[in-house]
């Protein structure tokens, strides 16, 4: 058993934060070791003394009665050290004990959601720690029916993944499939959502996300009630909800705090937003260059006038503007918050004004592009937002080739693609996982 200690020392040879201290407990010489970056050592020592201070028993008896966790294997010890536990080695008994510690606080506190906006609902959001996240869900949703299965994957880096479902509601088939898939491929390293999707056996090339990601606990709870499966991964400050539906693009949970007509109004707005965002630029190209006969004469004339002197064909004009706009959007995400407003001003006002006075694009196109961007922002979820931004180019190119017919063809193509997306047989175009739901969408 002495050999173990030597081996563990060699494992952590390159880690300067590995500590090994000799100490006395009950007048017995003991050795404490662990990773100092994860453990508050003085506090932990006090804790151990209090915990093991049982006057009625000797240390020998404490160990024999399994009042503390005793390591049986060398690997257990290494895992425990990496998890931030402290190991107490008593040379006389040749026993390794894994002790709970007071850890250094490396987690941020629970804050407001930063990637999603919530109106009139619980304002907490997930953080990086998996236990805290599950705790938040438990706090919001006090029920004995919550299934929580924790699976670890990865060899180099072990990752804890919690699989959540609600007994009686959850789609058993889906839950079982995700569980078996994760267990079968337990050697896969999961660093990000892409590798998770691969591990679950989906194509990483689909632009439609298989899961809905959210950092809002109420959203997760609503999904659990609908029978969906929720994956919470350690170090991910968001939950992944399987499966993702098209309808999720238009709904958020906090709208349910509004009266139904107002809720429907907001959702109809989002549907309009999605249609405008995908079709408008294509429609501009189609009407201006391929099918001007569709336009009203008066409208046609004013468009023709606004395009007077524009050197590029409509397609080039539209693509140019759209790409500039995508660049502005991307840049405003990258930049620190303090420079962001400057960019908006330069991009929006100066560039917009200059590009028109320079007669590079028509007035109408700036309206179309601005309308598209605004409409695009109405959609729920950043992934859906990006997906729509990409899909509109399909429509634009088809519209440039076939005009209004191209827009219809593009729409059919997109619908067909959406219809082909499924998660273990549950279609993307479905709207409920279990069939007993009826609560107004």
């Amino acid at each position: 058993m002495k050999i173990w200690l030597e081996e563990i020392k060699t494992v952590f040879k390159e880690c300067d934060d590995f500590f090994l201290q000799h100490d006395y407990l009950y007048n017995q010489p003991v050795i404490l070791f662990g990773l100092s970056t994860l453990i508050d050592i003085p506090q932990t020592k006090k804790l151990i003394e209090i915990n093991l201070n049982m006057p009625k028993y000797s240390l020998q008896e404490v160990i024999d009665h399994h009042l503390v966790k005793v390591a049986r294997e060398q690997n257990n010890i290494i895992d425990a050290i990496l998890e931030g536990k402290i190991i107490l080695y008593i040379p006389d008994f040749e026993k390794y004990m894994i002790m709970e510690v007071i850890s250094k606080s490396l987690n941020r506190s629970i804050e407001l959601p930063t990637n999603e906006n919530v109106i009139q609902d619980a304002l907490d959001s997930f953080i990086e720690d998996i236990d805290t996240n599950i705790g938040i869900i438990r706090k919001h949703f006090r029920t004995k029916f919550l299934i929580t299965k924790v699976i670890s994957t990865g060899i180099e880096q072990e990752k804890k993944i919690a699989l959540l479902g609600l007994e009686a509601h959850v789609n058993q088939n889906l839950m079982r499939k995700i569980e078996t898939q994760l267990k079968e491929k337990h050697d896969q390293e999961i660093h990000n959502a892409q590798s998770l999707v691969k591990t679950l056996g989906f194509s990483a090339w689909d632009i439609v996300p298989k899961y809905k990601s959210t950092e809002i606990p109420t959203e997760v709870i609503a999904s659990l009630k609908k029978g969906k499966v929720v994956l919470i991964i350690d170090d991910f400050p968001f939950a992944l909800i399987f499966p993702n539906f098209l309808w999720d693009m238009f709904t958020t949970e906090n709208e349910r705090n509004l009266p139904i007509p107002l809720m429907l109004f907001i959702r109809v707005l989002r549907v309009i937003g999605v249609i405008v965002a995908t079709l408008m630029p294509g429609l501009y190209v189609a009407l201006v260059s391929v099918n001007p006969e569709v336009l009203q004469l008066e409208l046609g004339l004013s468009i023709a006038q606004s395009r007077e002197g524009v050197p590029y064909p409509a397609l080039v004009e539209v693509l140019m503007m759209l790409v500039i706009l995508e660049l502005i959007l991307e840049a405003s995400v990258r930049l620190p918050k303090s420079i962001g407003p400057t960019l908006t001003m330069v991009g929006g006002i100066i560039l917009g004004q200059a590009i028109i006075s320079a007669k590079l694009v028509s007035n109408l196109l700036t309206i179309v592009v601005a309308g598209t961007t605004i409409a695009n922002a109405t959609v729920v979820g950043i992934q859906n937002h990006l997906m729509l931004r990409l899909l509109k180019y399909v429509i634009v190119i088809l519209a440039a080739i076939y005009g209004v017919l191209g827009i219809i063809v593009g729409t059919v193509l997109i619908c067909a693609y959406f219809a082909s997306i499924n998660v273990y047989g549950i279609s993307y175009l479905d709207y409920q996982v279990s069939k007993d739901e009826s609560n107004n969408g």
Binding site: S289, L297, I303, A304, R307, V310, Y402, G403
Partner: protein, 354 residues
């Protein structure tokens, strides 16, 4: 994966190279005439195109002219000699020379329908004067917004039920129908207004054969279900506003002679009266007025054998097709029509509202 990517790339190449999208002309490289005037000189067509042009905030009207052996030939000549392509798909109104209309429109109408370049629902009109003179006056007018000629026929704008609304496809249909003729509104330069409407031309087999007055046209529209709502009928005793109308027809063949019973129900409101006539008197007066007017119009068209009301349509189930072909010549002139007008005075004006 790589295989799929190659396939997709290959497909994209095919799509992009086989489209011909570089042949599309952007809208600012096209001339978009709104009104086309067509006249015929000998065997040459003369085309007058009215182009509304937006200049800063004002709409200006540009007139261009071309001649050619056919309409397509004239348009082609224009495209060749202008800096832009000429596209007729925005044409909303086709103005025909009266002499040309009398000679016959068959070739032009078939040509228009065949090429489909002009929308089949473009409006038709006949000009009572020389087209050059007419369009010269149109150009001089300074419309504040929009196009005067177009708005004149626009149902949401300047149209009243005294003006017939006849589309290209309706004229084309009449060429091939044995039981239906059309009327086309006649316009000329106005003395007080820009354009004046002076009645409708009766077109039979593509030729203008007669003319009816605006009042008759109103009746035609009422009979045709074009919505007479909001028209003021002036009589000796009172002026009434027609609120709604509906009609019912009953046709029969007795001894090879066509008979027809027609009922027109009008709902009216009284606008102005002279003296204090009773309601019954106004009802009687109005129904006599309309009945007389109707019979006069019917007599004129029967003489010319032009079934503008499409009365022959109601005999489609009663006459075999072979006989129906001779409807215009054999049956229509001897058609007896019992026309009844039922007037319902819905309210007497807003005298009692206070």
């Amino acid at each position: 994966m790589g295989n799929t990517m190659i396939k997709v790339f290959f497909l994209l190449c095919i799509v992009l190279t086989s489209t011909g999208c570089w042949n599309n002309k952007d809208i600012n490289h096209r001339l978009l005439p709104a009104v086309v005037g067509i006249s015929k000189n000998g065997d040459k067509y003369k085309l007058i195109l009215e182009l509304p042009v937006l200049e800063s905030d004002n709409m200006k009207i540009q007139i261009i002219k071309a001649t050619g052996k056919s309409i397509a030939d004239a348009v082609d000549w224009l495209s060749m000699n202008m800096d832009r392509g000429v596209d007729l798909f925005h044409v909303k109104l086709i103005v025909l020379d009266k002499q040309f209309a009398k000679q016959g429109l068959t070739d032009v109408m078939s040509g228009l329908m065949r090429s489909r370049e002009v929308a089949p629902n473009a409006q038709m009109a006949i000009c009572n004067e020389d087209l050059d003179y007419f369009f010269g006056n149109v150009q001089k007018s300074k419309p504040p917004t929009g196009d005067y000629l177009l708005d004149f026929f626009e149902k949401d704008a300047g149209w009243t039920p005294n003006i017939a609304l006849t589309r290209v496809w309706q004229v084309y249909r009449s060429l091939h129908s044995s039981t239906r003729d059309v009327i086309i509104p006649i316009i000329q330069t106005g003395k007080l207004t820009e354009v004046e409407h002076i009645g409708s031309a009766v077109i039979k087999n593509g030729k203008m054969v007669s003319q009816i007055s605006p009042n008759d046209t109103l009746l035609y529209n009422a009979f045709d279900g074009q919505g007479t709502q909001g028209i003021v009928e002036v009589m000796d005793l009172a002026t009434v506003l027609i609120l709604s109308d509906w009609k019912s027809n009953k046709s029969m063949i007795i001894n090879e002679k066509p008979f027809m019973k027609s009922q027109l129900n009008l709902k009216v409101t009284i606008l102005e009266t002279k003296g204090n006539p009773s309601m019954d008197l106004i009802k009687k007066d109005l129904s006599t007025l309309i009945t007389n007017r109707f019979h006069r119009m019917l007599t004129i068209t029967q003489k010319k054998q032009a079934d503008i009301l499409g009365l022959g349509q109601t005999f489609r189930t009663k006459l075999p097709r072979a006989k129906l072909k001779n409807w215009r010549e054999k049956y229509y002139p001897i058609l007896k029509l019992d026309f009844q007008v039922n007037v319902d005075i819905q309210n007497e004006g807003f005298l009692k509202s206070d």
